[in-house]
């Protein structure tokens, strides 16, 4: 049985997801675990990619040498390699899927629901956990109602007449994990104007005070075999929501930039560290964290606010688990073990025992 690594998808983070997926694929194959890369295209097709494929091969779309797959539901569900004139249709024998999709339908419960229906085991959040993590409004409400510290937040709609906190404001699409569509505006009137102009906000917009004095802090949570927190990281650039790999100039020579600038571990005082650790611990329960998630905070030296959660973080946050160190392969093994042991859903038909059907009589009578 192989491991499937699923990446791509119609999302702004499609490209970053390819990097995460290829890293996981390469690591599994390198360490002797048979794995197959499943690329989800921007137009919702699935293909199995060649093992040694590089990120560049995706620049134009589907890489050369890929084989089309169908995702089928039901008893014999799974990823099925299409038959041709010579080849027979063949279901991929997959033990589990490492979900390496970021943003959009890959991180909002859509693909998770589809994998559930196909009867596949997978890593990362369940459909419900992913949906909650992707909905910034629902997320904020859950955090606030649990009494945890978070910035004031409001839903901005055409009919919103005022806000009960002062500007400047930051506008974010209600759904979506990337920096795309984010606007910083000085006042309420501009915010309303942007709501009309910025189509990224048309599916829902949340507004928060924009606090230039706050910096980002991030921590990753693993849930299997037991819950573990990573070190806290301070990215040195805002909205740096994914590892930016810069394929720097082949002519310049030298190492080039390997990763985004960051401070790891972040230089914090003890009370900051313990506050963040305690918050992360509570949030893991509150948000049904499964697999590895990254929780982002906004802070200055005296305040700490929960900002958002990434239920499938870039590179699976492997770079955050440095003390104690967790090898990437070990992280993947834990994720896969959890995928097999901890179910993502519990469908129940208890109570649907036919009593209602028997007593219903004819449908026509109900309509009368």
């Amino acid at each position: 049985m192989k491991i499937g690594v699923l990446f791509g998808g119609p999302s702004p983070e499609h490209d970053i997801s390819i990097l995460t997926g290829l890293q996981a694929l390469r690591e599994l194959n390198r360490t002797g675990r048979e794995a197959v890369g499943i690329y989800w295209t921007k137009t919702n097709a699935f293909v199995a990619v060649p093992d040694d494929v590089e990120a560049e091969a995706f620049l134009g779309g589907v890489p050369q040498g890929s084989r089309p797959l169908d995702l089928q539901f039901g008893d014999d569900g799974g990823f099925v390699e299409r038959g041709g004139r010579l080849a027979k249709e063949k279901t991929l024998e997959l033990e589990a899927i490492v979900v390496a999709t970021h943003g959009g339908p890959g991180e909002d419960g859509t693909i998770q629901g589809a994998l559930d229906l196909a009867g596949l085991c997978y890593t990362g959040p369940s459909a419900a956990g992913a949906a909650l993590g992707m909905d910034k409004w629902a997320f904020g409400c859950v955090v606030a109602s649990a009494g945890l510290s978070t910035l004031p937040r409001a839903l901005l709609t055409e009919s919103t007449e005022s806000l009960d906190f002062a500007g400047p404001y930051i506008l974010k699409p209600r759904f979506g994990g990337s920096s795309i569509g984010i606007d910083v505006v000085a006042d309420f009137a501009t915010a309303k104007a942007r709501l009309k102009a910025n189509t990224h906000l048309s599916f829902g917009c949340i507004v928060e005070p924009f606090r230039a004095d706050l910096y980002d802090l991030q921590i990753a949570v693993r849930t299997f075999p037991t819950r573990a927190l990573s070190l806290i990281e301070k990215p040195l650039r805002r909205n740096n929501d994914a590892e930016i790999l810069n394929y720097r100039d082949k002519y310049v020579g030298g190492e080039g930039m390997v990763s985004a600038p960051r401070e790891l571990p972040a230089l914090l005082n003890d009370s900051q560290t313990s506050t963040i650790n305690a918050l992360a611990d509570k949030l893991a329960d509150l948000l049904q964290v499964r697999g590895v998630a990254r929780i982002d905070f906004l802070a200055n030296d005296s305040e700490i606010y929960v900002n958002e959660i990434n239920t499938i973080p870039g590179s699976l946050s492997k770079y955050l688990f440095v003390n104690p160190p967790v090898a990437f392969r070990a992280l993947l093994d834990d994720l896969i073990a959890e995928a097999l042991e901890r179910p993502t859903h519990l469908y129940s038909s208890v109570g649907a025992d036919g009593i209602v059907l028997r007593s219903a009589g004819s449908i026509a009578a109900k309509l009368a």
């Binding site: 921007k42 097709a45 134009g60 779309g61 795309i180 569509g181 102009a197 990224h200 310049v252 020579g253």
Partner: protein
């Protein structure tokens, strides 16, 4: 009869030739005529490389291929067929010397099309080769098959063209369906140069506000565009930016018939692809096709020919938006020091910091297209901060050694080369200025002259010229009045730069040729 060993060796020679030329064919977009051209280029005498300015040695007025041809003709004419076989095997396996089987910049991809052509060409050649085995001189036809691989591929490609047509149509049908379902506003961009940049600039300008998809890379023909739509046009896309290229009249009209633009943008008319397009007039009328079905047309009026389109299109009842760097226009971008001054409708609407490698007239075209899409000046000015240069287009960096490196290896043309040279001239350097270039290609009968002019300009600005490969070596060496350094490929030139230049020096890498060019 041929011996088994001879048969196997000849087959090996044949396949080595097949893979080489099939790769050239693929890199040249399956244009059958390209094989003749590249065969001639590769078989021409080579010049000797030299790393120092004095030590050139003598030029050899011949090539290994030519020597082998003469040897073959003599031996076969005198009846020494075994020697002829040996010569053929050497040629097949090793020649043209330098044209690699595997490829560095672009390996052969065994796509369905390449595989089909390869199989048909092999089957035909093997059949002909074997049919000669029963003649009195059994090796002759087999020998011939190795030497005429480019011709065979040329013929097979032409014969299979109708079949390919049907295959391509299937992809177009799928793409058409997808376009209809997603129903984005379509912006089509063409131009002899600047179309890829303009496409990216427009996508960058709009990305903050809308769901935009641009055709990736330089996918701009029927196969590329249908693939771009099938694999990239995600549901919910609001604006699709399609790059359209052309090698002949009728091609853009055909693209527009199924990927119909609401807004068409034309960036420039210039001497590019002259090998196939013959004259500027032909290019101009081919590009004009993009306006046929569009209701709005954006034109770069810094281009004389495009400036003349304005009245004509307005007479046809189309909305025309002009874009310019140099004169008043509906959208104008003027670089003033480190800032762009942006004017829309004759009014200055804002400023944005200049991004190195972004050409003002391309940005102006993108802004005009943004206006056509209903963006406000304020949104467009804000969008300018998202604009990035195309990779390998005037990217300036400083190497750890302190040498300033300008990477302008993206598709050079005469206009972009001039800009790159001024960028090098504008650097404040204490030391040497060096231009490393293989010259420019696809300029047809103008190629020699344009490259010669390029070398003259390098000389005039007091920079050293380092030539790479030999495609344009003659033109470049003639144009440059002093001595030039020559390298057989880019890696050798880069290695020389790394060891020879020091802090305070600057190097411009101008254009890069794929390695199927000699």
């Amino acid at each position: 009869m041929l011996s088994v060993v001879e048969g196997i060796a000849l087959s090996g020679a044949f396949f080595a030739q097949l893979v080489r030329w099939l790769r050239v064919l693929q890199r040249e977009h399956y244009e059958p005529a390209s094989l003749r051209l590249f065969f001639a280029r590769w078989s021409a005498p080579r010049a000797i490389g030299a790393t120092s300015l004095r030590d050139f040695g003598r030029e050899v007025p011949t090539s290994s291929s030519a020597v082998l041809v003469v040897a073959l003709v003599i031996t076969v004419a005198r009846g020494f067929d075994d020697v002829g076989i040996a010569i053929t095997i050497v040629y097949g396996l090793l020649c043209p010397w330098g044209l690699s089987v595997k490829g560095r910049t672009g390996p052969l991809h065994w796509t369905r099309r390449a595989t089909t052509i390869g199989i048909v060409a092999s089957a035909a050649s093997v059949a002909i080769g074997i049919s000669g085995v029963f003649e009195s001189r059994p090796a002759l036809l087999a020998i011939a098959m190795v030497w005429v691989v480019p011709v065979t591929l040329d013929i097979v490609t032409r014969v299979l063209a109708p079949f390919e047509e049907r295959q391509a149509q299937k992809f177009v049908d799928t793409a058409t369906k997808r376009l209809r379902r997603v129903d984005p506003r379509v912006v089509a961009i063409t131009g002899s140069y600047g179309k890829t940049s303009t496409k990216n600039h427009l996508a960058d300008l709009l990305s903050g506000d809308a769901r935009v998809v641009a055709s990736p890379r330089s996918y701009n023909n029927r196969a590329g565009l249908s693939r771009a739509i099938n694999e990239n046009l995600a549901d919910g896309t609001q604006v699709f930016i399609a790059e359209m290229g052309t090698y002949g009249s009728g091609e853009i009209a055909a693209l527009c018939s199924w990927c119909t633009p609401e807004i068409s943008v034309v960036t420039a008319i210039g001497p590019v692809h002259l090998e196939r397009m013959k004259s500027l007039d032909v290019i101009e009328s081919a590009k004009f096709e993009i306006t046929n079905l569009a209701s709005t047309v954006v034109l770069n009026v810094d281009d004389e020919r495009l400036a003349r389109w304005v009245g004509r299109l307005r007479d046809e009842g189309k909305r025309v938006l002009t874009a310019s760097r140099d004169s008043a226009a509906d959208a104008r971008v003027t670089p003033v020091g480190d800032t762009w001054r942006i004017e829309i409708d004759g009014e200055e609407v804002g400023e944005a910091p200049v991004v190195a490698g972004v050409e003002a007239s391309n940005l102006a075209c993108a802004i005009a297209a943004g206006v056509a899409l209903g963006r406000t000046p304020k949104e467009l000015v804000a969008g300018c901060s998202n604009v990035r240069a195309v990779d390998n287009r005037l990217n300036v960096a400083t190497a750890p050694s302190g040498v300033v490196v300008i990477d302008d290896t993206f598709n050079a043309n005469p206009a972009s080369a001039t800009r790159a040279l001024s960028a090098l001239a504008a650097l404040s350097l204490s030391g040497r200025r060096v231009v490393v270039t293989p010259g420019m290609v696809e300029l047809g009968s103008e190629q020699h002259r344009e490259n010669s002019v390029l070398a003259q300009s390098v000389f005039a600005m007091d920079a050293e010229l380092v030539t790479v490969a030999r495609t344009n070596l003659k033109a470049l060496s003639e144009g440059y009045r002093g001595k030039t350094r020559r390298f057989n490929n880019r890696n050798e030139a880069v290695a020389w730069v790394r060891t020879s230049l020091v802090a305070g020096d600057g190097v411009l890498y101008l254009n890069d040729l794929p390695d199927h060019y000699p």
